[in-house]
Assembly symmetry: C2
Homo-oligomer: 344 residues x 2
Amino acid sequence: MSVYLDTLRGRDGERAPVWFMRQAGRYLPEYRHIRERHSFWEMVRTPELAAEVTLQPVARLGVDAAILFQDIMSPLPSMGVEVEFAPGPVLAEPVRDAAAVARLRVPPAEEVAPFAAAAVRLAAAASPVPVIGFAGAPLTLAAYLVEGKGSKDFATFRAFLRSEPPVAEALLTKLADVAIAYLASQVAAGASAVQLFDSWAGLLDRESYARHGAPHLRRIVAAVRELGVPVTYMAIGAGHLLGEVATLGSDAVSVDWRTPLRQARRLLPGKVLQGNLDPAAMLAPRDVLLAEAGRVLTDGQGGPHVFNLGHGMFPGTDPDGVAAVVDLVKGFARRPVAPAGATA
Amino acid sequence: MSVYLDTLRGRDGERAPVWFMRQAGRYLPEYRHIRERHSFWEMVRTPELAAEVTLQPVARLGVDAAILFQDIMSPLPSMGVEVEFAPGPVLAEPVRDAAAVARLRVPPAEEVAPFAAAAVRLAAAASPVPVIGFAGAPLTLAAYLVEGKGSKDFATFRAFLRSEPPVAEALLTKLADVAIAYLASQVAAGASAVQLFDSWAGLLDRESYARHGAPHLRRIVAAVRELGVPVTYMAIGAGHLLGEVATLGSDAVSVDWRTPLRQARRLLPGKVLQGNLDPAAMLAPRDVLLAEAGRVLTDGQGGPHVFNLGHGMFPGTDPDGVAAVVDLVKGFARRPVAPAGATA
């Protein structure tokens, strides 16, 4: 069995499993080596390359899980949406009205970014650790679809949610349908856990999130758990939403670096916590980094904890520092909470 | 007397004063008219132009206060830092080590961006309403100085805070000294209130903010209040920091659109609250906008409230919508909290 899957299933063990958001990426020379010869979309769409990149950090770092190398935009072309990376995602045409939403395809599972499932299959066959599948959360994908590109504020999207609730509902429903199909295809291909990335949910107030985000997330989480696979939910800058996040039904919640894990433990009763080292600490000298990672490990006690960053790895991160953190986590003896009824 | 200053001094009146962050700016045709003929730095550095732009929204909208037209970067050249706008701020050289911090000048008050005080003087002489002076908070200015430019994550700055606490302390101390001198020059020129803009504080966890942000802010707030002028503190995405923000000593706190005013009222006892309409609501149809503004007015009851946005106005905002919000605020009959001892 895997320490990662055990922990996701609620085991408060003596060692925290460890993986890193964006562990497959630009900070690794072996990634850049491939990236020099292929475009980002090529890497994403070529199962052999995507699987290779997925496994690179496992080989180098000895992490306890391999997250699939893909982009949250991967399923959009299957819906009829043209996306380029320049380097951030740019859509050929924003989706802002009922007609544009009506035109979006909801393909059967085997037609949603089939290269992703193929990459999962290759990676899972070769991986010594579980492969994590993932999808972008509907709100976050809708933010890009409506805005047409990345943005600091997503002002157009936020105005759209307030102005066009029925169109928003139709769009978010389609995105949730596609996410369910997409994740089912990854699970069928061998993904043994799933993470939902909701990068921009934190821009919304709690009422808007409760209305436009939570219901769709609950449906996706329930559908994936129905397949017997645990689900982790991640949002950034979403400390103000945790009361609502607690109700989504996910097994685990990834907490960003701004919410201390002890506080998250109170706000998310019964949840496995994932996180929450500040990825900027990875850019600090080794002693500072390890002290900060040690603090996260200490704070993570009191329930099941998957060690991770509070957000994705920055490109300039030194892989040796990451390896040192993995060693620290593996050597850290947690004090699990005694099972109910046991005496101290 | 002014309804704005009365409210800042703690009066829970029957009408909320209203002004808007970035009310002097690109969404106004009369602003764009001037901007076509002058660079941004020229407008900032020419007191006649800066004063004219400061007063434009007062003339058009009838807001209860005029915020000085300047940029939070305005005082940096006086410190020896070269800044260009392209269109966001770009520094000729980032400030990242002890030597670079040592080179930063802390000029006497009359030499810190003297064009700003000159603009305050012109605006205050002509304004029917109070003129609000402002400065960037030390953490936010340091973020730009260390990063060298704007950023979504300010990863270098966050790593710097963790790696070089004594250098950070020296930098933040100089920035606070300059902010105090700068604000004193604006008050001497006729600013009758002051706002501190801490745009990037929300990126930090509470412990880092308590260490690197709060002490310097307390010193600035105390120095300005010593001059008899009320201080408003604004941070964005800082719901997780409000416990610390409550201790800064400011008269008022500007709350972003993600923290409901009722909740802020509990977390910030005794503070005047400012905010917190989502600026994206300004891009929605009139009925949606007014309903949302009405909700903010209702939530703002229970203590003194300055109606404002939760963040700066977006460039595409329709000035007529803004005017309609001003009318709504002026016509809304608040129910002030009865003074202690009075019966309902």
